[in-house]
Amino acid sequence: MSNRVTRRAIAEDPGPGLTRVQLVKWGAAAGGAMAAGGLLAGGLPMPAISQPSPAQDRQVLEWLVQVQHLEAGFYTEAERRGALRGELRELSQLVGEQDRAHVAALERAVGGAGSNRPKFDFGDATSDPQRFLAAALEIEELALAAVNGQVPNLTKRRIVTVMGIASVEARHVGWVRDLAGRNPAPRPADVPATQDKTRAAIEATGFTT
């Protein structure tokens, strides 16, 4: 079988966990067209098309647990500190309960509690009402974008549950924004975030240690 036919055959059936561009590179390297492989490796970024798979599902869920830890940690601390009053207090309790439930549901789906629980320093964002609202807004928006960014990467089996989490995150966003006097739905379609973008957004909160 010629190299050309082999490469095309592989490209048509990528198999689990392997992207087409990775395969092209793989195939090119195996076939000896080192120039092409080198160019891809050296010159261009590698935004491979996602191919859903159970293995990728696992990675997605583990990643989303990380993001949820930021939210759950934030509300848990706010509730513990007990400085908020009125509806903000109610919000921190209910949303905290729901975000902790998200962590539990996602951890269950990957089969057990994940690795490190990241540590955050929220400062007075978990006690001062104005700072609490501003932080909640930032955190909820980035979490929603993160989940939205991953849903299309999932296998069909996981889509409904993770969207069930996404809509609750969106409800949290709507609630917080209305409380903060901001327009809860400024755009007709939400913009998803890549993993990198979310990592940057988490850094930008200033809460990472």
Binding site: G17, P47, A55, Q59, W63, Q150, A189
Partner: protein
């Protein structure tokens, strides 16, 4: 046996090659199975496919002149929803057998658990106002066009917003059977009848002839074509607004039911 440097090098080379192959195989296994994934902190998930939609907010647009609604059941209107005094009747059908329509003025009031709305309807001599139960009406459609008939200049002009979209010369009522002045609306359209006197298309309005109060079908003023285009422009009719047949056909493409009619 003593190993020469060359043998050692070639052995080393072989060992390295073997290691390379083993690593390569391990990498291949990892790539192909993907089970031993990177930790969440270092995982590299691909960006998801781009959305097939890129929606943008659509702002509301200009305010309509009014709304019209079909009448679902004949009712007696009220001057005030809380009192029984009537302001006139609204029947379900027009004399032409079409569904009657009213203009909705945009005020609603809940009275004893029911919603009442204020409407404008065919009256004598002008359109009348009164309140009806919301349940007596069908769905609302916005009105964005107005036909202005000038009895002095003998013109009919259709306006949509600020734009003039149609204009023609017309025949109007004589001195003894004038076309009434005032604010009315178009409530039906008739076609495919055989009557050259009315041309190919005729519109019914809520305007009524003041002189011909005994007219069989209520004495309503229509807008229609004619078999006497030689009389246009002129004061020639029993109150109707007549135009040449090509004009009424053109107007029918531009003027929906519910269009406001202002006669000056």
């Amino acid at each position: 046996m003593r190993r020469t440097r060359r043998t050692r090098r070639s052995e080393l080379g072989a060992a390295l090659a073997l290691a390379g192959v083993l690593i390569g195989v391990a990498v291949a296994v990892v790539l192909l199975e993907g089970s031993a994934g990177p930790s969440p902190a270092e995982s590299r998930l691909p960006p998801s496919p781009r959305s097939a939609l890129a929606p943008r907010n659509v702002p509301l647009g200009p305010k309509p002149l009014a709304f019209w609604a079909p009448v679902r059941e004949s009712v007696s209107t009220r001057v005030n929803p809380t009192q029984p005094q009537t302001a006139g009747n609204v029947s379900r059908r027009t004399p032409e057998g079409t569904t009657n329509i009213v203009l909705v003025l945009g005020h609603s009031r809940r009275v004893a658990g029911s919603l009442w709305v204020e409407v404008r309807f065919a009256g004598v001599p002008d359109d009348a106002r009164g309140w009806v139960p919301r349940s007596a009406l069908g769905g609302y459609t916005p009105v964005r066009t107005r036909l202005v008939v000038d009895r002095e200049r003998l013109t009919a002009t259709l306006q949509r917003g600020r734009r003039l979209v149609f204009r023609t010369r017309v025949g109007v009522g004589t001195e003894s059977t004038p076309t009434p002045a005032g604010d009315f609306y178009v409530r039906n359209q008739l076609t495919r009848y055989r009557s050259p006197f009315y041309g190919p298309i005729a519109f019914g309005t809520t305007a009524r002839s003041t002189a011909l109060s005994d007219w069989p079908a209520g004495g309503f003023v229509g807008i229609h074509g004619t078999n006497r285009p030689d009389l246009i422009p002129g004061r020639v009719s029993h109150g109707c607004i007549r135009m040449a047949n090509p004009d009424i056909v053109r107007l029918a493409r531009l003027m929906p039911i519910g269009t406001m009619l202002t006669v000056r």
